[in-house]
Subunit: 591 residues, 2 copies
């Protein structure tokens, strides 16, 4: 059996000692004092530990079942969803104009981590709703917002995003779902969408589907795509529910993981839809939500790894097997706990240092999103847009690997489903795939983001790293952080230079190295985060009166990351500099 | 739906162009001419493609069920097992004195790859039987051999290995299962064993359990352990089946993968057992079979990756999505196939170059085992014993990662169980865990194998690498192989030096780097194999009259591995040289 405890101390350290949010000039941040954030996160932690985590295994075991067009969620999900609603959690960072609590996105992100760690599949119902809420909030008419948002803010109605079709995933230009304009200004939507998370279920009165479809006159490819609101039940002008719309779930997928989430095939059969945003600008509307959606998936990457890590630590402390090579540490017992063995330590340190670094990166990025939204700071928006593919791709890859390492600590018992750690691996796996497979993230990073706005965001990133290193020049304790960070950043710059020099004549030379560049930049981001965390911890230690054990542990964890993970950057650079030839040498028939 | 075709060309190239087995001085190898090996492997390929592969998904879906003490295998397994028996496959490399065909272990290994690729879970019933056969063959009395082996050679009776107990896996010294001597020379075995593959099933007339247990007088820890033959049905002197023994399956485990294999809890309740080998020398008896058992698991690592790779290639050729950045390659279609995209190529090249390298390493090691067994060559035995933890640990780690990459090529469709590629990932996962978890392999390598016989085997390995590089000094085409190999070997030597200089005062300094050393040595082994394969392919090209397309593909695949994978060695060295401090810095309570 697994368990989970919210990492409240780590979060408080990040929010207040590293990001120093209560001293920030971002509107709304001044209210986020230590007492307030602690109260919110502690409450979220209780819900997570007491309600959601125990349902995680239930959801995995039972899955969702489709009978006569009705999707039944696992036992206990509906009651838990009611508790989530009653606690007001879905409304946390929504617009007060529609019943939201108006807290920063940063707080929604921190709470999100806790809920995802406890039960990733369950939290997707809320997560998708939040995505649909954001789309309507950003692109809807006042009438649409008034009609749909209040119920979505509370999760009385949930939402979905319908992009993928059987023959098109990444390449949405191949889309076949059609929207035919009607005399009353609405559209008839016809087509089949697949992989629709929370597409149908028994936990809400209505489901507001956002559906990409092609309306006449938009031209070929992605240009002709528009976004539509297609409710399960049509909504009357007074907000009451009207007729059942012509859409139905065709299948609930049997998946490797996230069984508690209903992943549906959705059939739209002349369903009534309402244009959301501008005609033929559906892709643009989707893109405005992409940063948050991808940050949310990057968060899943480390949030599941955190839960897996906690259970690996518990097992490593509990399981007696072998003796420490330096002499028995549990001499009165039949053997020492696993945690005495260096290779178990290596694994736990890998996991711990990744999760804490990724949390820092994610919360920092969330604060940059707040800065962009709340102050219109274009530099913050540019920076976060550069980092999003890294947060999504790197964090979900590493998060999966760390879940695998956590399972490995359990030995054979980790392979037995009853023990629950296999679920972490199976659940974490999807985060590498959906919301743009990680190869697509790498393509986005190297093919688009690096050169966006004349490359100024990546230049700003390098400047930021340089400034961080320089700021600690005088502090010899920080050399274990700044030296590896400088090296890693230099390697990343060399990779960028290689792309510039070779990518013009042969774009494959850049794209063949894109995946390595994404991972390399991930390590540099983590190195930057660890440098900041170590500096904050050192300052807090110098100031005294803090939790010294916590702070020294933080520094030691960061030193591990710098010493053991940043050397990966040189390997990625070597791969990148080998260019396109090794990668593209074979004819397609030769595989 | 998945499919599988045996890689007959690759195997023929390895056996005859690289290993040159028909020119070998190992007894029995001279008979293995091209026509013979091709005929055997082609037949195995037919069985794999036509019979075993279609059952792979069935086994995954249905699993094994326990009802009233009887374990039912998935639909079709029993008929397929009969076909396997009728084809004489289990007897392939067994002793002719007991009905075997007496072919070299190398041929059993090549056939084994084909069967495992097609259906890993199914092949375990045969694989475990072969392990038990080997133990009885090596340690049994003449009477025991005559009584049990003929039926085990044919798989009319299957076998199991019983080591693990609920509270002890790696640390067998904690074992509680007891063996009480009886007046007639037999023993009464009492205890519970877990994770017993093929522990109970409906495909054989009898099951011969080999059980480790503690007999009185052997002392503490592993010293008191003996090995016993404990048949499900007692066997009369004339070979007929006698009474049911006092043992029963307690549970069939619900696992992450290999569902078609019945993984059992076995309860021995005063069961009749017969000592196998010397009293209190059970661990030593187990160790003599360990090389083959671990090589078999290392084989599973790449064999499942091969199957996954084949299905990734098929999907990448078939699925139309996006356009090549260098211009449409399928202009008449709605999009280009995935295989045009550089990052898909990177993934497929990773998979292909790993699988082919691992196959070479495994077959080479199998030939060294033959050399040891058939000529008593101690140097061959020492070398293979050094490489076994690498073959097991590195190949199963990388094999799993490659299965994950293959699944990634399928995008969201890879996460849907109906498509069958998730099974490769779930099945491959166990190979990293059982037969000594990979962390234990690393410990075996660094803590034992490096220094075995005064370190002479690792010195011989370095000499062999050096000689291989020197042999191609005059051939500029080979520099792309020999230069990275020299670098990687130098890094590995530096790591060994670090262990020597630091491990004496602080054993943790060596053990903290053991995992990285295992992976690094894996890359060096692969580099050595690719150098040999490239040289053989170049020679065959020079000679002319061969399959030029195949040979140039082989060289290009090797160049990819050298350019893109060998740079990992420098990273592993950097990690190793960071020593124990970062790894061991935290108190156990600080996690």
């Amino acid at each position: 059996m697994t368990s989970y405890t919210a990492p409240l101390k780590d979060m408080a350290f990040l929010l207040h000692d590293v990001l120093k949010i209560d001293a920030s000039d971002i509107p709304g941040y001044a209210d986020l004092d230590r007492g307030f954030t602690a109260a919110v996160l502690e409450e979220a932690g209780k819900l997570a530990t007491d309600v959601l985590e125990p349902l995680n295994a239930v959801g995995d075991r039972e899955g969702c079942t489709l009978e006569n067009g009705v999707v039944r969620t696992p036992t206990g999900f509906k009651a838990a969803f009611d508790q989530l609603r009653e606690g007001g959690w879905p409304a946390l960072d929504c617009d007060p104009a529609y019943g939201g609590q108006g807290l920063p996105y940063l707080m929604g992100t921190a709470v999100g981590e806790i809920l995802v760690s406890a039960n990733m599949a369950f939290n997707m119902y809320q997560g998708l709703t939040h995505g649909a809420y954001s789309a309507i909030h950003a692109h809807g008419t006042d009438a649409q917002k008034a009609l749909y948002l209040p119920k979505m803010v509370t999760c009385d109605w949930t939402g979905t995003m319908n992009l993928t079709e059987p023959h098109c995933g990444t390449d949405l230009g191949l889309m076949r779902t059609k929207a035919e304009p009607q005399a009353d200004g609405s559209y008839k939507i016809t087509g089949t969408k697949i992989f629709i998370s929370a597409g149908e279920h028994d936990m809400a009165d209505n489901i507001i589907h956002l559906v990409l479809a092609k309306a006449p006159g938009g031209g070929e490819g992605t240009k002709g795509i528009s976004l539509f609101i297609v409710p399960k039940f049509l909504v009357n002008a007074d907000g009451s529910l009207g007729a059942r719309n012509s859409l139905a779930v065709g299948k609930v997928e049997h998946k490797m993981g996230i069984h508690g989430n209903a992943t549906c095939v959705m059939n739209y059969d002349g369903a009534t839809g309402y244009l959301l945003g501008d005609l033929h600008k559906g892709m643009r509307a989707m893109f405005t939500m992409m940063n948050e959606a991808r940050l949310g998936v990057g968060l899943q990457g480390y949030a599941v790894a955190e839960a897996a890590y906690q259970n690996a630590v518990a097992y490593a402390r509990d399981r007696l097997q072998g003796r420490a090579i330096t002499g028995a540490e549990n001499p009165s017992g039949p053997a020492d706990p696993l945690i005495v063995h260096p290779d178990i330590r290596r694994s736990l340190m890998d996991q711990k240092s990744f999760v804490e670094g990724a949390r820092a990166l994610t919360l920092w990025a969330a604060s940059l999103i707040d800065r962009g939204h709340r102050t219109g700071d274009a530099a913050a928006e540019g920076l976060v847009s550069l980092m999003i593919p890294v947060i999504k791709g790197f964090q979900t890859d590493r998060g999966f690997e760390m879940a695998v390492q956590a399972q490995q600590v359990w030995g054979g018992h980790g392979y037995i489903e009853d023990n629950g750690v296999s679920q972490f691996v199976r659940d974490a796996r999807i985060a590498q795939i959906y919301e743009g497979a990680n190869g697509v993230q790498a393509l986005d990073l190297v093919g688009r983001k690096l050169t966006q706005d004349g490359g100024k965001h990546v230049m700003a990133f390098f400047e930021m790293v340089k400034a961080e290193c320089k700021a600690h020049d005088a502090d010899p304790r920080m050399a274990a952080f700044t030296e590896p960070l400088k090296q890693a950043s230099k390697a990343m710059q060399a990779a960028g230079m290689f792309f510039m020099q070779n990518g013009m004549k042969n774009p494959n030379a850049a794209l063949a190295g894109s995946y390595d560049f994404m991972l390399m930049m991930g390590h540099v981001c983590m190195g930057l985060m660890w440098t900041r965390m170590a500096a904050a911890a050192s300052q807090a230690l110098d100031a005294g009166g803090g939790d010294d054990a916590f702070l020294t542990t933080k520094i030691a964890t960061g030193r591990y990351y710098m010493a053991r993970q940043l050397p990966a950057c040189a390997m990625h650079l070597a791969r990148i500099e080998s260019g396109a030839d090794p990668v593209m040498a074979l004819a397609a028939e030769a595989f």
